[in-house]
Amino acid sequence: METNILIVGVGGQGVITVGRLISMAAIMASHNVVMSELHGLAQRGGSVSVNVRVGNVMSPLPEASAIDCVIALEPMEGLRYSHKTGKEAVFLVNLHPMTPISLSMQGKEYPPMPAILEEIGRDHAVIPIDASAIAHSVGNIRVSNSVLAGALAAASILNVSKDDFHVAIGKMFGSKLKDQNIIAFDSGYDYASNYMEKRHILLD
């Protein structure tokens, strides 16, 4: 058995941190994990992607058709992978847009959020979540990554418990950040659970 999670976003958002957090949680649950980090040219602002593979695997990259879940820290980055992943892939999408230079330079505005979600939803189950807003309410924009990890845990895509995630958060963050990240994780977990219950989204 293997579970493949693709995390995408914009350089500087913490794509690698999300990948490491999910990996650590899976390791806490005694799974084997392989993660690959794709560093691009720039430090901040370009597209970044990370693959996390859980199970008895050796290859750092999955087959495109075998991706189970895409976590998009930025909506358009989610859309960028919508047509490149199998229809089984569930999309967790953070509703925090970052306008690419290619649009802003021409004075063009970011496409409407409902249109992006509809496009992704054409082929995939989508769980939209305003992780950045939740993170702001926790008091630290950086913890939006843990909100998304919470949503992933709620979607039961990985065989990893909430407790395992809490332990992983404790291992990865210092004492002050740890508490904020656990609140963020739980908020993300609750939000996604409620969302799926209301929409009757059942993921096996």
């Binding site: 560093h39 330079m105 249109a115």
Partner: protein, 622 residues
């Protein structure tokens, strides 16, 4: 304890989740290295990041050398005295080190000397995807390639053992996916450093005068021949299929793709992993091939293994069907993945590949997100200003020669600065050459670290030939693109005015450049004046655009608790779009016909508030 300290302090038997490069650094410490030197280059940089963080505690000499050649010379010197030493670099860095490396191959070493190259198939952050396995042939050097982070650590130790035992430098080759892959790694105990081996005269051993080189060439051949006999087969592992018809041979990350494809799809193929790719384990290969009449060879980039294995089969008269690149089962270009490998294997076995994802059409809502200069990046201000200066001087058609670094991104719109970008330090040489042919003044850009690395000879040459060119040195006080490593101009990123920093301005003046001006790119007016003046100079002119990297500054401002909020005054903003069109900061975009600043992205540099960027002065501190 910091993340890197935890890796250093980990005890024998502990399992860590390490990046391939971190596993290599840990492996170096376990091997008891005394010296490590590098010039940072993606995808090798994290080896140095870890060693730089812990070297004092680990009791080793670590240095960011001025370039890869010097780094190798430093490591070699230490190894010649019997101390285990390591040098690491990205694949193109090996071109720079090659002059020294191919002689050090002949002289050999006393202590273990490992030369690591991190190749970059698909050119994620490189100008080419050269296959550095050819350097093993060129130098007659042994080469070892790991497949997993665990092997990255374990094989490195074995590389040191072999280097020491046979007194020959060993090439340790990774690719991006090995260097940047995280996996579970069981560590062993930290090794003890070796003692210096005294000797009276090194000339017969370490002097490459022809008379000595003649002898050393023969010795090198003997070493390689022994390593082939004794060591190469020890790096082979085989997983057998049920039947003996199909066999597959792979190395490095190619084996990981092959392994997962075969196990996932239940294919009946025996797999052979080769960990030492020079000299090849010929005995094991011949045996494996003799047992399997159909052989698939999986390797990224060139047909390195395939050519050697085909030659071996011809030599030994083995009748076998080989499926590889040379008969088009696998591509020569770009990084592999499981889909590429599965597709090739299926084709060889004449089966339909039903697992390939049919790529659907991409959404029309998608917009490109090319890499961009960070918000607050001083290079953005420099490019903005130079573009303005060229326009004012009627030189908008001037050819622009750029170099390797974050500022390579100046080639993108709206700056469009980079007609040329070839290799480390090439900006100034190319700019001088252009001017000879075009008799128009040219402009070149180079970063501080790249200037030290290979730019200085170009500037000397420009002076010597009175080249009509303006060289803009973008001095952000750090080797930024590879992750904020120090360089000769700033030995300590936390203290930019540390004693001993080498002055770029003094170098330029020492070469005899008359026009040398240091400016602050955040002060657009000052820089505009200097650049415009430089265009009137006869001969080369140098402008040092000096301002620390935004990421460095950002961290310091945060630490100091300084925080300014810039926002657009919607009363003053006319919606002219000049800021987004000409300045292109990721933090500024248009919304409802007015410019708006994303406070989460804004770096608070304040350059957009200057009238050159916003003629209506609509961007204000609130």
């Amino acid at each position: 304890m910091s993340y890197y300290d935890e890796i250093l302090e980990a005890k024998d038997g502990q399992v860590l989740f390490l990046l391939g490069n971190e596993a290599i650094a840990r492996g170096a410490i376990e091997s008891g290295i005394s010296t490590a030197a590098t010039y940072p280059g993606t995808p090798s940089s994290e080896v140095g990041d870890l060693l730089y963080a812990v070297y004092r505690k680990a009791g080793i000499h670590f240095e960011y050398s001025v370039n890869e050649k010097v780094a190798l010379e430093v490591a070699f010197a230490s190894a010649s005295l019997g101390l285990r030493s390591m040098v690491f670099m990205k694949h193109v860095g090996m071109n720079v080190a090659a002059d020294a490396m191919l002689s050090i191959a002949y002289t050999g070493t006393r202590g273990g000397l490992v030369i690591m190259t991190a190749d970059d198939p698909s050119m994620h952050s490189s100008q080419n995807e050269q296959d550095n396995r050819h350097y093993a042939d060129l130098g007659h050097l042994p080469m070892i390639e790991p497949t997993t982070p665990q092997e990255a650590k374990d094989f490195l130790q074995r590389a040191f053992d072999i280097s020491e035992r046979y007194r020959v430098p060993v090439i340790f080759r990774t690719t991006t996916m090995i260097s940047h892959e995280r996996g579970l790694v069981e560590v062993s105990h930290v090794g003890k450093p070796r003692e210096i081996v005294p000797f009276e005269s090194g000339k017969a051993e370490f002097n490459s005068l022809p008379q000595y080189a003649m002898r050393n060439k023969k010795l090198l051949e003997e070493k390689i021949s022994k390593i082939k006999d004794v060591e190469s087969d020890r790096f082979v592992s085989i997983e057998r299929g049920k039947e003996d018809e199909w066999g597959a041979i792979a190395s490095g990350v190619g084996y990981a793709y092959l392994h997962d494809v075969i196990s996932k799809h239940g294919m009946d193929i025996s797999m052979m992993k080769i960990g030492m790719t020079n000299p090849l384990p010929e005995r094991s290969i011949i045996k494996f091939i003799s047992e399997h009449p159909r052989i698939i060879i999986v390797e990224e980039l060139d047909s390195y293994l395939e050519e050697k294995i085909r030659a071996l089969c011809q030599l030994k008269g083995i009748d076998v069907e080989i499926y590889g690149k040379m008969n088009s089962y696998f591509p020569y270009d770009y990084e592999f993945n499981m889909d590429v490998v599965r597709s090739g294997v299926m084709k060889a076995m004449q089966k339909d590949d039903t697992h390939m994802l049919s790529i659907r059409e991409e959404s029309p809502l998608l917009a490109a997100r090319t890499p961009v200069l960070c918000p607050g990046c001083p290079h953005r201000a420099s490019f903005f200003t130079v573009k303005k200066a060229l326009k004012l001087a009627g030189m908008s058609d001037a050819k622009i020669s750029s170099d390797i670094g974050c500022y390579s991104l100046g080639v993108y719109e709206p700056f469009d600065m980079g007609d040329y970008m070839i290799s480390m330090g090439s900006s100034i040489g190319v700019a001088s050459g252009l001017q000879n042919a075009l008799s128009e003044r040219s402009v070149s850009f180079i970063g501080d670290s790249t200037f030290f690395h290979a730019g200085i000879p170009g500037l000397i040459n420009a002076k010597l030939n009175n080249a009509q060119t303006t060289l803009i040195i973008l001095d952000n006080r750090i080797t930024a693109m590879t992750g904020q490593q120090p360089n000769p101009g700033s030995r300590d990123p936390q203290d930019l005015n540390a004693a001993g920093n080498i002055s770029i301005e003094n170098i330029a003046r020492g070469i005899g450049i008359d026009f040398v001006k240091t400016v602050d790119p955040y002060n657009i007016g000052e820089m505009l004046h200097a650049v415009t003046e430089s265009f009137k100079v006869d001969g080369p002119a140098v402008i040092i655009s000096s301002r620390e990297c935004a990421i460095l500054r950002d961290a310091k401002e945060k630490k100091a608790g300084r925080h300014v909020v810039y926002a657009v005054n919607v009363e003053k903003c006319t919606g002219c779009e000049k800021c987004v069109e000409d300045f292109a900061c990721p933090a500024i975009s248009m919304s409802g016909g007015k410019a708006t600043i994303d406070p989460d992205q804004c770096d608070e540099c304040g350059v957009c508030a200057e009238r050159y960027v916003c003629p209506f002065q609509a961007i204000e501190v609130v």
